[in-house]
Point group: C2
Chain length 647, copies 2
């Protein structure tokens, strides 16, 4: 890999707190060991390959960083999630299968179970001798987990739990590791005690295959077959017909059944209990966002390197054809996407640190911090996976016919990451969660009907308290104070002005939603759904504006921490490009709300063009800063020009 | 298929002039005969399947409508392209393979060849006994066809043409039918006479395999292997090492070599000759646009029907969960896309009629009409394929996990149509072509350097002449005259106001580009590329604005032709939604240029929301109007709700 002079300095910034984890992985003597199969395999072969790769990961000690010290781990959660992110440069099937095994299955045992489960199952989870599933989603219920239909009914005569799939919709669906490899499933089900009382969704460990790989009695296993990607992951369906497991198998940290059949929980409110259980699984979303980011950076590196050697059409009077990167339209496709990837990588690093601190907190984590973490994870996941799908698609197109060849990886990156926008939380639902968190200031709103609660809360909302809580509040305030007061020349390039534009958009959108919900709630107390629905777009826009600000602030902090010099200057331009391409995309809003004059708006467009032009000669440096070894990238047809001479 | 009352009336409008072709295909007793394979096949099996399907198509008499009467056809070009469009509801691999065989290979022989080639090869092309390739694209040259590197050199001693691939970049690449089935290739090459003079790109028929399927001497055939879709199409590479074919094999309609070795052509200017030859192949772009439209309508039908039965989350106070279609965010995803598909289908029908008339014109087609057709085809192709990729992706996401299952078709539709944005002309290049056509008023600008010519022309541009040439000029003018003069209440719903907004954007953007190019050209005559490059985005925006207007006018004409009644009312609302969602997307531009006030812009957003809400209950009717038989759609998991009752 040729690295230009400034790239290592940029890499240093992007690598962040767990940079050492990244550097070690890059430097491994067999760099390509977790790369995709050298050519597309049949589904059966790709599944076998992925299983083998998973076992190799287990052997390399992939899991322990994700477990607390008392559970046989190191408690280095940040390192764990960073290593997972790096898998996103390899075969995404392996990333997802590892996520199911170590993250979801392992995470359910670790976070929802107690000592007995940890002792019995975590060693096998870690070394891969016990492969497991995370059986949450049902055919009829994806986003609305609280109302899934599988039941786990306590039978006091045998002290067992009886697992049932009572309806076609209650079939567990899309479950990773189910179709081929899983021996045990963490099954989410409505827990019912012998008195007939339902206690909400809980998680129960259910063996689904015996040692010989045959389905256990009463367990019907289906195969989802071919998917839009992730060919190496054996997704399947699970149905339960009076499947009996010992009561002991209930993951009982947040809800338990006593030997006498009575239900008990440290959390009285059923809804709050449910969200607390779900909250412990936040690491899955953080991880998906990280993996999406890595895959996106791979795609941008491939498309940028192609654009720097691929030539098409000569300029008037010239003889040699121009590189694709010479064209403004091409610059405008690639460079703003690179800038956003920078912003996302930094914001992801912050998110990982936040997660690390809260997961490692002695005793119970502070409620508010946990809620903020959940909202931040939901928002970054939604924006990072949207960016992944849009950007990898753009990269594919930017490479023309070469981009459509599977050997050049872009189509496979696209297909494999495609489901990221809708799994581990559908992005639309997640952005609503973000808006809800902001409007309710992350206070608990675990009443049975959270839509009404949100509407009630929103009517008391003021944006100021939230918006000043940013960790870099002082720095941001200082920069903002230096913003030019109006549309002076090149005002759009002033960092304080950029920050104000972002903050203003978020604040106004949030206050606007609050006003709409609050006002309507007063007038029409029974029309909650209609009120919510009319404001839904507005809510989603507010959530996006919030994450945009989080991204910009992450970049601004990084820039300000750099010493003066060419690396800082370059990073500064990338920050300008992220800021202004975002303002450009939302310029309709800014104009409607008097935040930009028509002249100012046109100046933003012009500045984006100029930044693209000025950054194009540095494009190789910018993607080299992602520091992805060529052996991971594959696709030699995109990376290097054709040899000269006779064919 | 349940069809609601109004659907047939809408179908009637959308089906257009060649509706009978559509109806016959839908009514075929084996509706699913050109459907995709029931489950994903290996590449080898899918290729074999597609070949078999291609032969079945040939047997059904697919080709003759695309050929002139004198060539053994019927000359019903419109019927031919409409039937091709309908294949877009089936297996896209078949569509592309049929396009290669009957459209590109057959089209090259028919349009670039003369009687001798027609007699010798068209019968085999039609009945599938002679499978062929269209060998234009090279590894090093996709968009810039004029500079491809393969050579065809006349050897007067044997009166043969010697075909060579002189450089690695001159390898023919991504060639359909090459890897497995093709026996002959229409090879585009630089024609060189024995005196060493080059005469530009011409097309030569080159046998590539013998009867036994072995490569011919000197021909090296490679296999592109797995792609991002179109698994059933055998794309490959071709390299030629002194491959000799009789001079007779030169497709000599526009350029010939006499027995004495002298070159002759009815068109003196080499560049003009090249563009004339390329122009005869316009049907390929028209066909791709049609196929993309059909695949998009399939996806919209699947996602809409899913959204109408899939339920998630109950409203406050309710018990039954709401359908996805109840949510504003979901309505806003699906309904504007449906409206745009309506507009595109109507504009496509107009384009097909335009192509039909010009192709059937006695004698040479009028130059200007041909240029307009080429520009229109380029523009509709670019916008239709962009819409396909964006919309099918959105539909996949709108169906969550179910949308990711290959059996539910959306991922396969996405993968198969993905390359449409970059083949048969890269969309960015095509939109530039549109802008260029508009700026030069479709006059010939076949100087050797068309960028300079365009800049020169643009300086003399006035928008008025073009913009009044629309076929419905009278109607449009009448409606525009009724537009309210300013931001009166609900002005955005006035049809004349909508038309003015579209026309105004196109006119202003075009005039702006012309001004920039013209002014800069005067000041800096040597900086043509920089001038062009700085204006590239502006040009692309102008081209898009032009096509947007074409789409709206196609819809307006259709609405106005309807009798008063509920079908007209519904169609009218769909037209409003197309118009206003387009204005909404470009509202930044309208605000910057004083065409919308902030209040007017917010009113547009509000109206789009209201239209979505009002049209949501009619969503089933709107997609039923596409009249796609369920047997073609497949994906029963999306079309119908799960059965009730116990699993």
């Amino acid at each position: 890999m040729t690295v230009t002079d400034l790239a290592p300095a940029l890499t240093q910034i992007l690598d962040g707190r767990w940079g050492e984890v990244r550097r070690q992985l890059r430097a491994h003597e067999d760099a390509a060991r977790f790369a995709p199969p050298p050519e597309p395999l049949s589904m059966a072969d790709h599944r076998a390959w992925t299983k083998k790769q998973l076992m190799a990961l287990a052997k390399e000690g992939f899991a322990p960083d994700g477990l607390a010290r008392g559970m046989g781990g190191t408690g280095d959660y940040g390192a764990s999630v960073t290593a997972f992110e790096m898998l996103g440069h390899g075969d995404l099937s392996l990333l997802v299968k590892a996520g199911v095994q170590f993250g979801l299955f392992g995470g359910a045992i670790a976070n929802l179970g107690t000592q007995r489960h940890h002792t019995a199952y975590l060693p096998g989870m870690v070394d891969g001798t016990l492969l497991g599933c995370f059986a949450m989603t049902e055919t009829g219920h994806g986003s609305n987990v609280q109302h899934l239909e599988t039941t786990a009914t306590h039978d006091p005569t045998t002290d067992e739990l009886v697992i049932d799939s009572p309806t076609p919709g209650s079939q567990k669906n899309y479950i990773g590791n189910a179709a081929r490899d899983g021996r045990m499933a963490a099954v989410f089900a409505q827990l019912v005690t012998a008195d007939g009382e339902a206690h909400g969704v809980h998680c129960v460990l259910v063996p689904i295959r015996d040692e010989g790989g045959r389905p256990m009695p009463g367990v019907t296993i289906g195969d989802c077959g071919a998917k839009g990607g992730l060919t190496g992951v054996d997704n399947g369906t699970l149905e339960f017909d009076s499947v009996r497991v010992p009561r002991w198998n209930l993951l009982n940290r947040y809800g338990d059944i006593e030997p006498d059949g009575a239900y008990s929980s440290p959390i009285d409110n059923a809804s709050r209990r449910f969200f607390t259980m779900l909250g412990t699984l936040v690491r899955g979303r953080v991880s998906v966002a990280g993996g999406a980011g890595a895959a996106t950076r791979s795609a941008l590196t491939l498309a940028t390197r192609y654009a720097l050697h691929r030539r098409q059409f000569a300029a008037p009077g010239g003889t040699e054809e121009l590189t694709l990167m010479s064209y403004r339209a091409h610059q405008r496709k690639l460079l703003p996407a690179i800038a956003k990837s920078y912003a996302l990588m930094l914001a992801q690093n912050d998110l990982v640190a936040m997660m690390h601190e809260i997961a490692g907190h002695e005793g119970a984590a502070p409620e508010e911090g946990q809620r903020e973490l959940e909202a931040r994870a939901a928002g970054i996941k939604a924006i990072a996976t949207r960016h992944a799908t849009d950007t990898i698609q753009m990269c594919r197109e930017a490479c023309g016919g070469a981009g459509y060849m599977a050997a050049n990886r872009l189509t496979i990156l696209k297909e494999d990451t495609d489901v990221f926008t809708t799994f581990e939380g559908d992005n639309t639902v997640l952005l609503q969660l973000v808006a809800k968190g902001l409007l309710t200031e992350f206070q608990e709103t675990f009443e049975d009907n959270s839509m009404l609660a949100m509407i009630a809360f929103a009517s008391r909302f003021t944006a100021s308290s939230i918006l000043e809580k940013t960790p870099a509040a002082g720095l941001i305030a200082k920069l903002k104070s230096r913003a030019p007061s109006d549309d002076t020349d090149e005002a759009e390039l002033n960092r304080g002005r950029q920050l104000s534009l972002f903050l203003d958009r978020e604040k106004h959108l949030l206050e606007g939603v609050a006003l709409r919900l609050g006002k309507a709630a007063k007038e029409e107390p029974d029309a909650a759904f209609r009120i919510f629905n009319n404001a839904q777009d507005h809510m989603l826009a507010a959530a996006e504006a919030h994450i945009d600000r989080v991204l910009l602030e992450a970049m601004v902090q990084a820039v300000e921490a750099l010493e003066e010099g060419p690396a800082k200057d370059l990073f500064d331009s990338v920050t300008d490009l992220f800021a202004l391409s975002t303002v450009e995309r939302h310029r309709g809003w800014y104009l409607e709300h008097g935040r930009l004059t028509p002249t100012g708006s046109k100046a933003v467009i012009r500045s984006v063009g100029v930044l693209c032009k000025d950054l194009a000669p540095q494009a190789r440096t910018l993607v080299d800063a992602f520091a992805i070894p060529d052996a991971w990238l594959g696709a030699p047809g995109l990376l290097e020009p054709l040899p000269a001479g006779r064919g």
